[in-house]
């Protein structure tokens, strides 16, 4: 089953003089890290039996736990012409990501144990980042009938989700939450009212009005959030609200958390950095769902990350080929290929003094790991060595040569960036090195 690629043996190594940032353990210090047999053996002084084959100098660089990305689309199975598990798990490693959660909206949909196994096995065979699927909440994501959730969980699904398909039937949603909670399976939600969302493609506001594009009002999300929070509160489920886009959603989630409702939330890096104004004159590279909203919403999301009520930053990686965006805005493909740039872009929030380093790293490591129930996202001695080394000052450009994802859809494509992962380890293997 475990088909490790040739030429990638685990090496016993020491990473020297890196600035280790491990929020789960409260570490932010320049120190050494010692790895042997794929495990973190010690931090600081080397263990007596450690004889590294290689010493990596990480001076003036950061050493972070491997990034855990809670929302990545790999396009396999079903859309391998866009990307594959191999291409995207390998690309993820070049961005410091070592664990990826994928929604169930592949073709076929991940609503059976066989599909869940297949995705994980292919990722394991590829040998780069690990992939942890979400099982479908309803069969075929049709919102009519519950899946065998407990069986899906046994097959490795870290939670259940109806992906971007809204479950209009509130009774069914309530029962899905009750059933999932029976087996302590977290429910991943992307709340929205599909009637209010309609055929909208941009936030209802200044840009939709000026460009005459079909609009998605804020209420399309907040109505969904309000409903789902009410159902979470009474169903006993543990829920994660994936990729909120507006300030009022954050307010509702904050209020719910303050009442001890077991709900967490994430925001995509796109929503933390961009607003509707980036669309300019129909720039379809900024077409995402939920849509980019106002500056006030962006600030609301940032405030949520800062105060911890939005605990996770994810890439919302959605790779497409180069021509997918070459259509009128309303017909262009949705999404941004984001795994190459997640850490680079998230670090800009630190560099610009908007969010502190520990919070940003925590939002991409131990917080998502905890929500996904994964034993990673931290640098504990005795744990598998999933980590990345990040040079915060390294300039690079996202282009045909550097973009590792098979996707080519990024607003940052062709732009100069600062901050780059220089090495990534997965279970002690060097899976990426510049």
């Amino acid at each position: 089953m475990y088909d490790k690629r040739a030429g990638m043996p685990t090496v016993d190594l020491t990473i020297r003089n890196g600035n280790l940032v491990d929020p789960a353990n409260g570490i932010n210090a320049v120190t050494d890290l010692h790895i042997g047999d794929g495990m973190i053996k010690a931090i600081g002084l080397p263990p007596s039996d450690h004889s590294p084959e290689r010493i990596v100098d990480a001076e003036n660089q950061y050493v972070f736990p491997g990034i855990v990305d809670l929302c990545t689309r790999l396009r396999e199975p079903g859309e391998e012409y866009k990307a594959t598990i191999l291409s995207e798990t390998r690309a993820a490693c070049s961005g410091g990501i070592t664990s990826m959660v994928c929604p169930p909206d592949t073709f076929p949909i991940i609503d059976t144990p066989a599909m869940a196994h297949m995705v994980q096995n292919r990722a394991q065979a590829a040998g780069f980042a690990s992939v942890h699927p979400l099982g479908a909440l309803t069969i075929g994501l049709r919102g009519e009938q519950l899946t065998d959730m407990a069986t899906l969980a046994d097959a490795g699904c870290i939670g259940v989700s109806n992906a971007l398909v809204s479950v209009e039937n509130s009774l069914l949603m309530r029962r899905a939450m009750q059933y999932a909670s029976t087996y302590d399976i977290p429910v991943f939600l992307t709340p929205k009212d599909s009637w209010l969302q309609g055929n909208g493609v941009v936030h209802e506001g200044r840009i939709s009005t000026r460009l005459g594009l079909p609009a998605i009002p804020e209420a399309a999300e907040t109505v969904g959030v309000a409903r789902d929070l009410a159902l979470v509160e009474t169903s006993g489920a543990t829920a994660h609200i994936a990729m909120v886009s507006c300030r009022r959603s954050v307010d509702k989630i904050r209020a719910a958390q303050n009442r001890n409702i077991p709900v967490t939330a994430s925001a995509s890096i796109n929503h933390l950095l961009c607003t509707e104004d980036n669309i300019g004159e129909f720039d379809a590279q900024y077409k995402v769902i939920p849509p980019l909203r106002t500056e006030s919403d962006r600030q609301g999301l940032i405030a949520g990350i800062v105060d911890g009520h939005v605990a996770v930053i994810c890439s919302d990686h959605q790779p497409h080929g180069a021509d997918a965006k070459l259509a009128p805005f309303s017909e262009a493909a949705i999404g941004i290929a984001g795994i190459d740039t997640l850490l680079t872009l998230a670090y800009t929030l630190v560099r610009d003094g908007i969010i502190d380093l520990e919070t940003v790293i925590s939002a991409m490591t131990d917080n998502p790991a905890r929500i996904a129930g994964l034993d990673c996202g931290k640098l504990n001695s005795g744990s598998p060595a999933d980590l990345c080394i990040f040079d915060p000052d390294k300039p690079w450009q996202l282009n045909e040569q550097t973009m590792q994802s098979q996707g080519r859809n990024s607003p940052w494509y062709g732009t100069d960036l600062v901050g780059k992962v220089t090495m990534t380890l997965k279970r002690g293997e060097i899976v990426y090195e510049t």
Binding site: G212, P217, P328
Partner: protein, 323 residues
Amino acid sequence: MSAQPSRSIQFDDQGNLRHFLTIDALPAETLVQILDTAESFIDFGLREIRKMPLLRGKTVVNLFFEPSTRTRTTFEIAAKRLSADVINMSATRMSTTKGESILDTVRTLEAMHTDLFVVRDHASGTPHLIADHLPSHVRVINAGDGRHAHPTQAMLDMFTIRQKKDDFSRLRVAIVGDILHSRVARSQIHALSILGAREIRVIGPRTLIPTDIQSMGVNATTDMTDGLDDIDVIIMLRIQRERMDGQLIPSEQEFFNRYGLTEEKLRFARPDAIVMHPGPINRGLEIASSVADSSRSVILNQVTNGIAVRMSIMARIMGGSGR
């Protein structure tokens, strides 16, 4: 670390207008020059020989992905009067990724040495997309895209207003009806605002007024009595019956009662107010026949002016173009 800033593709590197896609952010000077040139073309239609050699040897393709007779015809006449060769393509396309993409269609036609595309489509932004992917010597005019823009219509409306009312800075203009779905209204608002109109008002029920319309520099009101007070120019928009499924307005009767322009409601405006409509009009829905056919109505002037204004725009963007 922001990504690339948005840019205007309407201008070339020297700042010359090379496409006519939207009026948004055009300099007032450009609009005035287009109107002035149109002025010189207006008598031209009355001459015995109505041909000018400005676009001789150029090929103009009217690429209409959405049906249109009036607009396409006026573009065709305008191009022919400038001596261009005109090809009409009434293409249908599927709004999915299946079938030939818009850009494939356009590149095929461009390979046949088209100099100017006149584009209409049901999707907002299609002319921008096309302009962004053609060689730099090929020009694009937007003949109406989705709800976004209909800049040549707005220019002929400005021309008509200028014929009747000389100074924009003194004018209060009301645009009435379905603002939400109207590309004409959006382009008119930009044009009026750039030309310095004293006030622009939009009037309609809240279901038909886009949110944040104030960000375009207009005042929104829901009532015709207040809305038409002291108004110099009333622009009635066409209500598309197929859109009115009982969810945006309850019934045609109720809409006409509230917003239909009747002689009675016309009295709220200034006594010399003119009435405009981009056509085709729905008599008894947005406008009463007695108003549409009255001396206050300039609806037919708009149609006549359409040819001169489109000639002017074509001449402007094709001027100095060439392979």
